[in-house]
């Protein structure tokens, strides 16, 4: 049956309600099993030895003493993970990041690993591994890394995307460009121009659960991996590629996941754990320490961004331009490109140009972090937009409303928008009570907008109907924030049965077809689309079974309110059959009843949000507190509003942390100074007020219920919203995130000196 995903307005019974989540009891009783909560018989403890140098050639590794230590069962180095990438640069980068080959590229880069009978033997074994390094000059700053005299990390990197192609290697991996119109002509028409440079520091996703896995490779070529991941199918593929395993013989089971935010979409030590198990012939449990998590997983890009925006006195933006430089760690990614794409996505611009520069540096390999690359770009653009509005004497909200993109606008990154939420979120902000609430002494208000694409992707769902009419759906998108509840709601809605009759589970990779990761805010969007499709297929089967039970034509049977109903004058006396009625007879009518769906979920509706932030700044210390915060965002359709609000609040607070205090601090030696929660300062409970939310619902035309992804957009506006609020509070513009107390106080001092 062809699946029609298009939106149809309808009365909804389950979708939009707030039932208790299905995994709640397990999680409040300590029974839910996360990455480190699983054990196998005979399991060893795995640990990784990491480079203390930011950049160093590995001259020699001697593992003989470690191997000789009693209780050590395996020691692996790059030699145990041979390069099978066949020239694929992305695969090689993953491999080299898992275990350094010729060079250690950052402080924390893995160089060897051990598996031993317990933690203390493993710890002792690490100390017995001798690594001889030739320390090389390093570079961690994005602007410094682009300079002609910077130490070059990789002699094979020649900037792509520039004409003519450069003849010498550099740290600039690629250039990307987006936009339309003629920005020079546009600036010529402007009455006022703001041109600034902005910087943001590197942050970490900061999930509370460190990376953890249990790996087992058997002698017959089969293997198992229990792991906290956002994408078990992707982990399976990558691990199989790196280790030369058959994809179908490696079963990956995703544990409950203790936060990911993009950081668990990439493999880290999992291939190493598998290599250790293969060598030792025993299962290996490998759990990163918090220090390892900070030094060797995660982070986002540090950036340096130039913005130039011009506007007429009436508030019309005539041209907008941005040059965005993003660090990617030692290996090129697409981080600057994403930043360049998202920069001006909120606005309807006649002339716009963005250029992204991807820069390799001696920092950990950059990983996705919630709307990756968008928050930094939004900080720069929304700060400049704010300043420009003030300069032409226009209210910052009205200025944005005047220039907001809408249905039919050509976006700055190419596509033409359908129905979108930027205008409505701005209008909602303008009329929100927060906007007109009085401010106290040293308090200021800021606002900012944000955009994220949202993704769809490959999705597969199995729906099985039990003999009693209750339903199980098996999905392949890991539940990172309550999606089992939302997917159960959607399944219940489509079948016409109560929420309580549906149980959603996350299947392992051997039990279900391939699924892309839970990333790009796709979990509920894509899996619900597949769940609806599977439910519709199951309904078709149930109609056929009802036809058999009644001995009438299936064409005379409709599905309504969870029942098969016979239509037409000749069937008046047939009482509707419930799912349970039909399921009870399944053994006599053709066997178990199931619905299945595999699809590529296209048409993930883009997402916009507008945030309002009040801060109070102590002008004598630069200390800044967020005292009120409001998130307004388009959800398309909020399936389970509690968890939509949760996404808005959580993303906003991550953004607040990024704005105020979170940053990687490197010493002159290129070593990370703050690899722990003590000095990498994520927001704590007492730092924050309640986070107010307002959900707008502008249906996504490409989803049966209008659902859009909601997970990521909320982290995009806060950096600028906070900085704009600080500016409003103490009348000093901040160009460097985080706006930590020393930076604010220095800015205030500079201003006082004139």
């Amino acid at each position: 049956m062809t699946f029609d995903p298009s939106y149809k307005e309808q009365g909804l019974k389950s979708v939009g309600t707030r039932p208790l989540r299905p995994d709640g009891v397990d999680k409040v009783t300590g029974r839910a099993r996360y990455g480190a909560d699983f054990n196998m018989p005979g399991q060893l403890v795995g640990r990784v030895l990491r480079s203390p140098h930011a950049h160093a050639r590995i001259v020699r590794i001697d593992t003989s003493q470690a191997e000789a230590l009693k209780g050590v069962k395996a020691v692996v180095t790059a030699a145990d993970l041979p390069d099978q990438s066949n020239g694929d640069a992305a695969t090689f980068a993953v491999l080299d990041n898992c275990m350094a080959r010729k060079k250690a590229m950052y402080d924390g880069h893995a160089v060897a690993a051990v598996a031993a009978i317990d933690a203390s033997v493993a710890k002792a074994a690490l100390k017995l591994i001798v690594v001889e390094y030739e320390v090389l000059p390093h570079v961690v700053d994005v602007d410094v890394a682009m300079a002609a005299d910077a130490p070059v990390l990789d002699e094979t990197v020649f900037t792509t995307g520039v004409e003519p192609a450069p003849k010498t290697p550099s740290n600039v991996a690629n250039r990307s460009e987006f936009g339309h119109g003629d920005v020079e002509a546009g600036f010529a028409k402007a009455d006022m121009i703001v041109e600034r440079n902005y910087k943001t520091e590197q942050t970490h996703q900061g999930y509370i659960e460190p990376h953890a896995c249990v790996a087992n490779c058997n002698s017959d070529g089969t293997a198992d991996l229990w792991v906290c991941t956002q994408g078990p199918f992707v982990y399976r593929q990558v691990c199989a590629d790196l280790l030369g395993l058959d994809v179908s013989k490696l079963r990956v089971t995703s544990s409950e996941i203790g936060g990911g935010f993009g950081g668990k979409t990439h493999v880290w030590a999992e291939p190493v754990a598998l290599a250790l198990s293969r060598k030792a012939g025993r299962p290996v449990k490998l759990v990163m320490t918090r220090e390892e998590v900070f030094r060797a997983s995660g982070p986002t890009s540090a950036t340096s961004i130039d913005v130039k925006i011009g506007a007429k006195k009436d508030g019309t933006i005539t041209a907008a331009e941005a040059t965005l430089r993003y660090t990617s760690g030692p290996y090129a990614g697409m981080w600057a490109e994403l930043g360049a794409m998202t920069s001006f996505a909120c606005y309807d611009l006649e002339n716009v140009k963005t250029v992204g520069w991807e820069v390799v540096v001696n920092r950990p390999k950059v990983a996705a972090y919630r709307a990756p690359s968008a928050p930094m770009a939004a900080f720069a653009i929304e700060s400049a937009v704010d300043e420009l509005a003030h300069k032409i004497g226009m209210d910052a909200v009205d200025f944005r409303i005047k220039n907001a993109a809408s249905d039919g606008s050509k976006s700055s990154y190419g596509p033409v928008y359908g129905p979108i939420g930027i205008g409505p979120t701005l209008e909602a902000a303008k009329s929100h009570p927060h906007m007109s609430a009085p401010l106290g002494e040293n308090q200021g208000r800021g606002m900012a907008c944000g955009f994220w694409f949202n993704f769809g992707g490959q999705t597969c769902v199995d729906l099985n109907i039990g003999a009693d009419g209750t339903v199980t759906i098996a999905v392949g998108t890991v539940d990172v924030g309550g999606s089992r509840a939302s997917l159960s709601l959607i399944t219940a809605e489509e079948l016409g049965i109560p929420y309580e009759n549906v149980k959603a589970i996350v299947a392992d990779t051997s039990s279900l077809g391939y699924n892309d990761m839970t990333d790009g805010s796709r979990g509920t969007f894509s899996s619900s689309m597949a769940a609806i499709s599977a439910a519709r297929n199951a309904i078709q089967v149930m109609r056929e079974r009802a036809a058999t039970m009644w001995d009438i034509s299936v064409d005379d049977i409709i599905w309504e309110d969870g029942h098969a109903k016979a239509v037409g004058a000749t069937h008046d006396n047939l009482a509707p059959l419930s799912v349970a009625d039909i399921a009870a007879e399944a053994g006599n009518t053709g066997g178990p009843i199931a619905g299945h769906s595999e699809l590529v979920a296209d048409g993930a509706g883009v997402s916009f949000g507008t945030h309002i932030c009040d801060v109070e700044v102590d002008p004598e210390t630069g200390s800044t507190r967020v005292v009120r915060y409001t998130v307004i965002q388009d959800a398309g359709k909020a399936v389970h509003p509690d968890y939509v609000e949760g996404q808005y609040q959580g993303g906003a607070v991550q953004g607040i942390g990024w704005a105020l205090n979170e940053e990687y601090v490197y010493g002159a030696d290129g070593r990370l100074q703050n690899p722990g929660f003590l000095d990498y300062r994520i927001p704590v409970c007492s730092d924050l007020p309640m986070i107010d939310t307002q959900i707008l619902e502008i249906p996504n035309p490409n989803h049966p219920y209008g659902v859009r992804g909601v997970g990521e957009t909320s982290i995009v506006p806060p950096l600028a919203a906070v900085a704009n609020a600080v500016s409003n509070a103490v009348d000093v513009r901040m160009f460097h995130i985080p706006v930590s107390p020393p930076r604010i106080l220095a800015a205030l001092n500079a201003q006082a000196k004139g």
Partner: protein, 160 residues
């Protein structure tokens, strides 16, 4: 390394275990006693995911040696509900959607339980400062604070 024999009380039950001198209570709970509800988020007392209650005070079990628990009374998340009856805090956390990934939840529940034992009617500010040692990266804390407020109100009501 010679093991130390320890007799203690966990969730009201007498428990005996052997541990090494440098082994933490968290390691003992998770690796020796199968009580894996306490989570290790940092191992240095900065995240609160391993919170347990020792002699009535909430502690990070990663900062307590197993050997120190001799003769003490330990409460863990596994002892919070009575049979199938959830503690009001547990019920309110689910009801208020106060968890997303849930890794921090056992620690929050232990800390909140100690809070309500000491302060049955805490202000929002008291809740926020008491729970400042429990990191949550998913929720932004809003719904957690509301769940604790809800449980406090229910527990006060239940007492009168």
């Amino acid at each position: 390394m010679t093991s130390i024999a320890v007799s203690t009380t966990i969730n009201g039950d007498d428990v005996e275990f052997l541990c090494n001198a440098d082994e933490t209570l968290l390691d003992v709970l998770r690796n020796r006693l199968g009580l894996m509800g306490a989570k290790e988020g940092c191992g240095t007392g900065d995240c609160g995911a391993c919170s347990t209650i020792m002699d009535g005070r909430v502690v990070c079990s990663c900062l307590v040696l197993g050997a120190e628990t001799q003769g003490r009374e330990i409460e863990t998340i596994e002892g919070m509900s009575e049979g199938q009856d959830l503690h009001p805090l547990q019920a309110k956390f689910i009801e208020h959607a106060a968890l997303q990934c849930g890794i921090c939840t056992p620690g929050f529940l232990m800390a909140a339980k100690a809070l309500l034992a000491a302060h049955p009617d805490p202000s929002e500010e008291e809740i926020r400062f008491w729970l400042a040692g429990n990191l949550c990266r998913c929720t932004g804390y809003d719904k957690i604070v509301r769940a604790v407020q809800g449980a406090a109100a229910e527990m006060r009501g239940a007492k009168t």
